[in-house]
């Protein structure tokens, strides 16, 4: 180690607020970044899952003898192997067996699994498993599930999971597993006397997140306990669920998360971990399972939803009341459906000043693949509907879309919903910026529509995060934090946050992936929370190290504590400086030792959902489209988003988040849709489920970063990356309506748009 004599810089280099190169760019470009699918461990077997071809059936018998006799096969797992444990899991509702027991509830449900010496042997063996099914009536749609006397997808009492987090779990009501409501003010009275009422039914399709890396897990069970290398966004919650399922102490369950090939919510909570662990337990050897795309599509998806909404206004365009019923199709198992339902319920009123609001949001079981989290859930489902109705009121009252929102939007400090955090953003400033970025007032060519949409998303999830920051003897910094790098760039952001506090270059900070044995607890990676909450934990941990450095420096310059500053890797007292390695050597002697700080974030109240959210994520988008009235084809010509982030830790990465969300929003709004028929998924590969490619890029797009310092995170930051998704969906729907084609069903495929144009022509004829 060389210790150079420092020279005092004129100004310390700011680390937060600069667009530093991603710390993981080279690993990823060079193909050095390892994902779970790239890994293997000694004695590892390969697992394959036999999935149900039936949407709803009783399992009469399973014969595994032929499969077990196949070459290379080591073990076959069925429900019969799980009788020594309580095999049901689910973080919200414990409604799901590790593999089907007696009954399958969706096409694609795991019925058995094989561990073999290679994937081909496992694949061949699952074809030899003979399952006899007895068909049961299928509840394929929300309408079928909510019909009187509908067959029940789940018929037992519901048991709350470890992370239900939404208060007392209500009793199951038919196929309704959770219900969230808002009821404020005299709704019926206001509607009865309102000059304008807009009312309609709307549909949002089920969609697939398509993280390019499919769900993958390696599980090992030995004297050390259970170790998993897993594609999970919430490793500590997975650890807890696995520990509870298999009755193992938390400390003997270890989850290691390398880089993730995308998440977007599809890898939140527990997914393929229970079946992989169960198979490893049966085989007595480590097992790796890597889903195919078809399997991941039925492992997690976005809820389809049906929405009935009415909005009341007076004749001058003042919004008065909104009344919403939303049904979310959560599939055969609840997964994150209850939280999606609550978040959708919170997003449904929109960020407006209402005399009365009523929301009734239902989470409904059907015999389809389970639905969970996907970027901006809840808000993406309902914001476009509310914004279509606001625009319709604007049209009837002669107001511009921008003007009606200016008049009715909540202002900072106003109540968003009864209880919880008041509005913490300047929405009017934000919509003016997005309109300007789009070119709202530019001349509009024929068959062109422009739309903007604004909403709020309850963000942050549960506010529990912790971090450890270590300053090594050579002056490098290591950040340990249990948040998952899935592409969003949090390792880069954490490096910048720690570097800013410690007065070092962010390039000297290394942030490594989660290993629950060593990294401290973090609740989850999702809900736009990492920069805000894990980032705050990193900041606090770094502040402890900073305090430690100042203590040592005070020994160097006794009596001059008030003059000591930290900058560019050294402590300074006037022109006199000591490098951090020198300070560490002063404490520990020789060249060893390290300074360790820890930081945590905890709920200020009880942490209940009602007290939240951590912050309101702003969901704003604007779009311009052209509609070909002969074919129904819609072309997205311009988009704009606002990233209202309080403080941009890395402005370039903020823009990238909005760009990614914009393109996913275009996919969801314009053409992505999982098509089910009697519970069977008809388009289960990328040939038939199209996601956006470079040819779908809008002609022009812009992202405006707004930094009002009003976030609860480090340096006034708050999260981003989800809001634009809901904003863009709403902007596209309102833009197509502005072009003369108000649509009530997404995605806005040419066929649907063309049909609607014909209907509208018929009705005006």
């Amino acid at each position: 180690m060389t210790i150079e004599t420092p020279r005092r810089p004129a100004v310390a280099t700011p680390q937060v607020g600069r667009s530093m190169r991603r710390v993981d760019a080279d690993d990823k470009l060079r193909g050095d970044a390892r994902y779970v699918g790239d890994m293997s461990v000694p004695r590892m077997l390969h697992g394959k899952v036999l999935r149900s071809p039936m949407a709803h059936a009783r399992i009469v018998s399973i014969d595994t003898a032929a499969a077990l006799a196949m070459p290379g096969v080591v073990a076959v797992l069925t429900g019969a192997d799980l009788m020594d444990i309580d095999p049901y899991w689910g973080h919200a509702i414990k409604d799901r067996p590790i593999v089907a027991i007696d009954r399958v509830r969706f096409a694609g449900e795991p019925v058995a699994a094989v561990a073999a010496v290679d994937e081909a042997a496992a694949e061949a063996a699952i074809r030899e498993i003979v399952v006899e099914y007895e068909e049961l009536p299928v509840v394929g749609t929300l309408d079928e599930a909510l019909a009187p006397d509908a067959p029940l997808v789940q018929d037992g009492p519901l048991r709350p999971g470890l992370f239900h987090g939404l208060g007392t779990l209500p009793a199951r009501d038919g196929n309704i597993c959770y219900r969230y409501g808002i009821d404020r003010g005299p709704v019926d009275e206001v509607f009865a006397s309102a000059a304008i009422v807009v009312e309609g039914d709307y549909t949002f399709p089920g969609v697939y997140q398509y993280a390019m890396e499919t769900h993958s897990v390696i599980a090992q069970w030995d004297a050390d306990g259970i170790t998993m290398w897993a594609t999970c966004q919430h490793p500590f919650l997975v650890r807890a669920e696995i520990a509870a399922l298999f009755d193992v102490p938390l400390g003997k369950v270890r989850v290691i998360v390398p880089y993730l090939g995308g998440g977007f919510g599809s890898k939140s909570y527990t997914k393929m971990e229970p079946i992989t662990v169960a198979l490893a337990r049966k085989a007595g050897r480590p097992v790796k399972i890597v889903n195919t795309v078809a399997e991941s599509m039925v492992t997690s998806r976005r809820h389809g939803a049906q929405i009935h909404m009415r909005t009341a206004a007076d004749s001058s365009g003042t919004l008065l009341a909104r009344d919403v019923t939303i049904s979310f199709d959560t599939g055969a198992y609840a997964d994150n459906g209850p939280r999606v339902t609550a978040t959708g319920g919170d997003a449904a009123p929109g960020p407006y000043r209402w005399a009365a609001v009523r929301v009734d949001a239902l989470c409904v079981y059907t015999n389809t693949a389970p639905s969970g989290s996907y970027r901006a859930f809840g808000a993406s489902h309902v914001q476009w509907v509310g914004e279509m109705q606001v625009d319709e009121i604007a049209r009837r009252t002669g107001l511009d879309a921008l003007e009606i929102r200016r008049r009715n939007l909540l202002r900072p400090g106003e109540q968003v919903r009864p209880g919880g955090k008041p509005l913490d953003a300047d929405l009017i400033g934000d919509i003016e910026k997005v309109a300007e970025a789009l070119g709202w007032h530019d001349d509009k060519p024929p068959d062109t529509g422009r739309g903007l949409s604004v909403g709020l998303l309850a963000a942050g999830a549960h506010p529990v995060s912790s971090a450890v920051v270590r300053l090594e003897a050579d002056g490098d910094v290591i950040v340990l934090v249990g948040s998952t790098e899935m592409g969003q760039g949090q390792r880069t952001a954490f490096a910048q946050i720690a570097a800013e506090v410690l007065g070092v270059e962010a390039e000297r900070v290394r942030c490594i992936g989660t290993d629950t044995r060593f990294t401290p607890y973090d609740r989850s990676t999702g809900a736009s929370r990492s920069t805000t909450l894990a980032g705050l934990a990193v900041q606090r941990a770094a502040q402890q190290v900073r305090a430690d450095l100042l203590d040592i420096a005070a020994l160097v310059w006794p009596g001059r504590e008030a003059d000591i500053e930290l900058a560019d890797g050294s402590a300074w007292c006037g022109e006199d400086g000591r490098t951090y390695p020198e300070l560490i050597a002063r404490r520990f002697g020789l060249s060893g030792g390290q300074l360790i700080g820890e930081g945590g974030v905890y709920p200020e109240g009880t942490g209940s959902y009602a007290e939240g959210p951590v912050f309101w994520e702003v969901c704003i988008g604007a779009a311009e489209v052209t509609v070909d009235r002969d074919t129904g084809a819609v072309t997205v010509t311009r988009t704009a988003t606002v990233a209202d982030v309080g403080k941009a830790i890395n402005p370039q990465l903020v823009e990238r988040q909005d760009e990614g969300a914009t393109m996913q929003g275009i996919g969801n709004a314009m053409f992505e849709e999982m098509v089910f028929s009697d519970g069977l998924l008809l388009n289960d590969d990328l040939l038939e489920y199209r996601i956006p490619s470079t040819v779908d890029l809008p002609g022009r797009s812009a992202c405006v970063i707004v930094e009002n310092g009003d976030g609860p995170g480090p340096f006034g930051a708050k999260g981003c990356g989800e809001g634009a998704f809901a904003g863009i969906i709403g902007a596209l729907a309102t833009a197509v309506a502005d072009a003369g084609v108000p649509m009530h069903q997404l995605p806005l495929t040419p066929e649907r748009v063309w049909t609607r144009i014909q209907e509208l022509q018929e009705s005006t004829r």
């Binding site: 667009s19 190169r21 991603r22 993981d24 760019a25 080279d26 690993d27 990823k28 470009l29 060079r30 193909g31 970044a33 390892r34 994902y35 699918g37 790239d38 290679d118 398509y210 993280a211 390019m212 890396e213 499919t214 880089y259 993730l260 090939g261 995308g262 998440g263 977007f264 890597v290 195919t292 795309v293 899935m486 592409g487 969003q488 760039g489 370039q652 990465l653 990238r656 760009e659 990614g660 969300a661 914009t662 393109m663 996913q664 590969d685 990328l686 040939l687 996601i691 956006p692 490619s693 470079t694 040819v695 890029l697 002609g699 022009r700 797009s701």
Partner: protein, 154 residues
């Protein structure tokens, strides 16, 4: 069957089954894991490698077909002098997010740059349409490739 591709510049002899896919041989036998598996149906492009300089989806390309041909994977591309410009452009534009599509994207870009086809923005978008990326929304990637090819971005 014994095949002898020129893999990343070195003649490499491999025994393969007739039905074995190039992607499996690269990943499982040669520990070249830069090519990733995702869609399995030649749509996503994340398994892209170059065979005789042209991008192919190794998930649907038989390993036996590589006999006597040049096969370039990311593990080979990163050793070439042209690679640095790609990493510079991608770094500058932050055109990397989760990274799962990135090595394949780099290989496709390497082939496109060599082809001389990237004469305008439209050609960049068209050339990259066989490589999906779910994270970035493509804007930064198109801009980075525009820089590399000397065509202005959108």
């Amino acid at each position: 069957m014994r095949v002898a591709p020129v893999l990343n510049g070195h003649v490499t002899t491999i025994d393969v089954e007739p039905q074995e896919l190039l992607l499996d041989v690269l990943r499982e036998r040669l520990d070249l894991t830069g090519a990733k598996r995702s869609c399995d149906v030649q749509v996503c492009g994340t398994c892209t490698v170059l065979v005789d300089g042209l991008p192919v989806s190794s998930c649907t390309y038989l390993a036996v077909e590589t006999d006597g041909r040049d096969v370039l994977t990311i593990e080979g591309l990163r050793e070439l002098p042209e690679f640095e410009a790609i990493t510079d452009a991608f770094g500058r534009h932050a055109a990397v997010q989760c990274g799962f599509c990135t090595p394949a994207m780099a290989l496709t870009i390497h082939a496109l740059l060599a082809s001389g086809e990237l004469t305008d923005e439209e050609a960049v978008r068209h050339g990259l349409a066989g490589n999906l990326c779910r994270c970035t929304g493509y804007r930064a990637i198109v801009d980075a490739v525009g820089d590399l090819a000397g065509v202005p971005g959108a």
